[in-house]
Chain length 268, copies 4
Amino acid sequence: MTQPSPTRPVTVGPVTLGGPAFTVIAGPCAIESAEQFSLIAEKTRSLGAVMLRGGIFKLRTSPDSFQGLGNNGLAVAREIRDRVGMPVVSEVVDPRQIEVMCEAVDMFQVGTRNMYNYALLKELGLAGKPVLLKRGFSARLEEWMLAAEYILRGGNQDVVLCERGIRTFEVATRNTLDLSAVALIKQTFELPVLVDPSHATGLRSLIEPMSLAAAAAGADGLLLEVHNDPAAALSDSEQSLDFEDFSGLMDRLKKLLGGLNRPLHILP
Amino acid sequence: MTQPSPTRPVTVGPVTLGGPAFTVIAGPCAIESAEQFSLIAEKTRSLGAVMLRGGIFKLRTSPDSFQGLGNNGLAVAREIRDRVGMPVVSEVVDPRQIEVMCEAVDMFQVGTRNMYNYALLKELGLAGKPVLLKRGFSARLEEWMLAAEYILRGGNQDVVLCERGIRTFEVATRNTLDLSAVALIKQTFELPVLVDPSHATGLRSLIEPMSLAAAAAGADGLLLEVHNDPAAALSDSEQSLDFEDFSGLMDRLKKLLGGLNRPLHILP
Amino acid sequence: MTQPSPTRPVTVGPVTLGGPAFTVIAGPCAIESAEQFSLIAEKTRSLGAVMLRGGIFKLRTSPDSFQGLGNNGLAVAREIRDRVGMPVVSEVVDPRQIEVMCEAVDMFQVGTRNMYNYALLKELGLAGKPVLLKRGFSARLEEWMLAAEYILRGGNQDVVLCERGIRTFEVATRNTLDLSAVALIKQTFELPVLVDPSHATGLRSLIEPMSLAAAAAGADGLLLEVHNDPAAALSDSEQSLDFEDFSGLMDRLKKLLGGLNRPLHILP
Amino acid sequence: MTQPSPTRPVTVGPVTLGGPAFTVIAGPCAIESAEQFSLIAEKTRSLGAVMLRGGIFKLRTSPDSFQGLGNNGLAVAREIRDRVGMPVVSEVVDPRQIEVMCEAVDMFQVGTRNMYNYALLKELGLAGKPVLLKRGFSARLEEWMLAAEYILRGGNQDVVLCERGIRTFEVATRNTLDLSAVALIKQTFELPVLVDPSHATGLRSLIEPMSLAAAAAGADGLLLEVHNDPAAALSDSEQSLDFEDFSGLMDRLKKLLGGLNRPLHILP
């Protein structure tokens, strides 16, 4: 098991996930407006991100929380993606959304609450677009791989995993980031694996150290919440980086990657 | 909090859940054939069950496992229900199944893996039929109540909760049955709450003691896996009762309910 | 596994644990004074308790919390035990305390934090007194049985187990009471097993329903925190019953035991 | 919270824990013989370790497992330490061992099972030697810090923390290494913190990636199980590195530390 299993890269437009280079995906928890998303896209691209994240249809634990821009968000996503040249990944929560989302997003994200939603996974197996499959916060590694299998069986081989923390008894952090699972996946499965330190910790101050730790553990990239004004964000404000935080993180990440002999993926 | 909050009963055909009487729902994990479902229906009815459970569309952790009869199962469910006179509860896993299932089942079940599937819950809020909402195996009580809220907000007040064990570090049982949550719900929420000791423990020998414990803790009823031939069941064979086990359990349950001054709900 | 393994009863003075009768042990979290302990002893005895619990040497999670009366508590325990005629069980936290405690207590309690303290367990194997071994709040059933083995190996066969809740992700209750473990022990091990619903739930309102559920699950008895004035208790005030609560619980417990065909153990 | 709290270094002979340099402690799970311990000491020293670990009094979950060399191990520890010039850390499991161990070991280790053994911690507060306090595998961060407080209150300020994995529902690894806790400690507490990736993962292949991740997360050092012949080790054989694994790990660790601008602590 010590010999790493070769990862099969997944291509999303100009971006390769799971290849020799380390990839950073950044963006807000939810797309709030065209201005906001455009600003974040341009800034994070200039600092080293290659792909955008941003929620369009949000379904939150409480029905009272902000539920996303919905159809208006689709147009925003498409516009910014085309203008800035970064592929967009966004969460799908209902099999009936797949068709309409296909034109606006480049990669579907399955959130932690839907990892066991096999009806959705089966449909994504037929969707013809790459899928970012987050780990259920209480999913064993084996269940996570079986969830991926539901997508792969449909004929869609472009599945990328994302560790985002598991639920434990610890209350000092929102979840417990399980980097051992990342290292184990790299040694035993072919799928690329990213890490989301924002949701994993729920604490802004921990995002940088956990990002560096993820790279050192062998992850293929990061999924980061970055917001132009975290204090005013409509969701997840406590775990979003501002541009200055993100810039500092990218500086230290590049140095660390040097020590690991791994390049950072950059867009031309 | 010591004064119990009054439970608002939910009616499903001739059955009242959450009323003064204790209710037993029984049936196989999955409907395997008309003969099997008919046999189980008649036998469990004669022993004191008032409602039938049985999976039609199953989505299992592994895509290789038996996935249910699908549309054929709908016809079976309707036929047996009408002939035996017991309402049927069955799991829905996709919002697109709701319409077709409406004619064959009397109550929708949301399984543990879909408790966080808010798109499905929202749709069930509009479905016009009672919903049995199982607890996610890693859901905090508060999250479970918020999931119920997604259904209630749509205008559907007929929500019944079902505790089915939570995931813990313990490996001696499949899950850990959380009866404290049941007692706490009875004291603080209006929704009826059942207990599923079959999935909670995963061990046949524990179903009876946990059924009795559930009644003593204040649950409004049980959801039990009963099979005519557990060893040959296509799924969950280790946690299904045979008719003899079920008969013995019902005998001891009646005696216990006597000591609790609570009647057993029976069909005329 | 469905055939219960015969439990080997353990005798503590006039009390039999694990025999045909159901046993209630009651008392304060900590012995605070002779007056308090005497009052609680007499009152709980008159309501049906047969044995007293009460901490003498407490070691709490925070070094700032009340740590017990220490040596003064020993004299109190002995005096009240002899006068009221109820055996006393008290926690031992250091192998060097065993000798001095031997004269004042009838049974040693190993608390949840010391279940893995094998040096202490080995010493208790040689102590010549019954031991009440609480489950570590994160101990698997197998580890708990191996901890008991450390005592049994020393030649001390008088070990009684006590389930007191395990640590899970649930925050609505202090711990999650694992009654499946109790039922499983009754079916597979010879040692008597009690339940402590006070520490398990941490909420006064849940103690009665969980006590009834424990009896229905097959437990051999209860370990209950009862205090003359819970609001003024120096520790665990939120999970202690007052005399009125305890009286009501005992009434309902007796009725339930009737439905289970099990008598309540009473002192002459 | 983003500004790291300054760590207060702890000195153990020629070694500084929690200073600017990153520290590697290595050695077998248990000292098996003078030859074995000497060989491991010399080899690990030559590869960059500065301190030795090795169990003398082991108390294992099962009373049937190897329990260490006991008093014979003390003489071995002292002899090798003096000859090779590396301080030795070894686990203490009983307050009555402290005095005899004081002459042979340079630092006491409190194992995960004894983190809640407050009687032992209090005694170590008076022992006049540094203490390595492992996290209980089910301890919240706050409880761990309160356990440290039991030692600090006695006047012993030389406490070093060690994260060694927590118990979760995941079964693919022995425990789940919680590096977020390490980063949070570095930001909010003064005590140095090490990481033990051997016990955390229980899998040899994960030790190197988790060691690198620990360094990237900000840990002050590592506690590694290294054995001359892991397959023949009397305990923990599956999670011990051989000399070749250890040498490779040290090479990659040095490169990574370069990318973090942190030197490796070496003995003259």
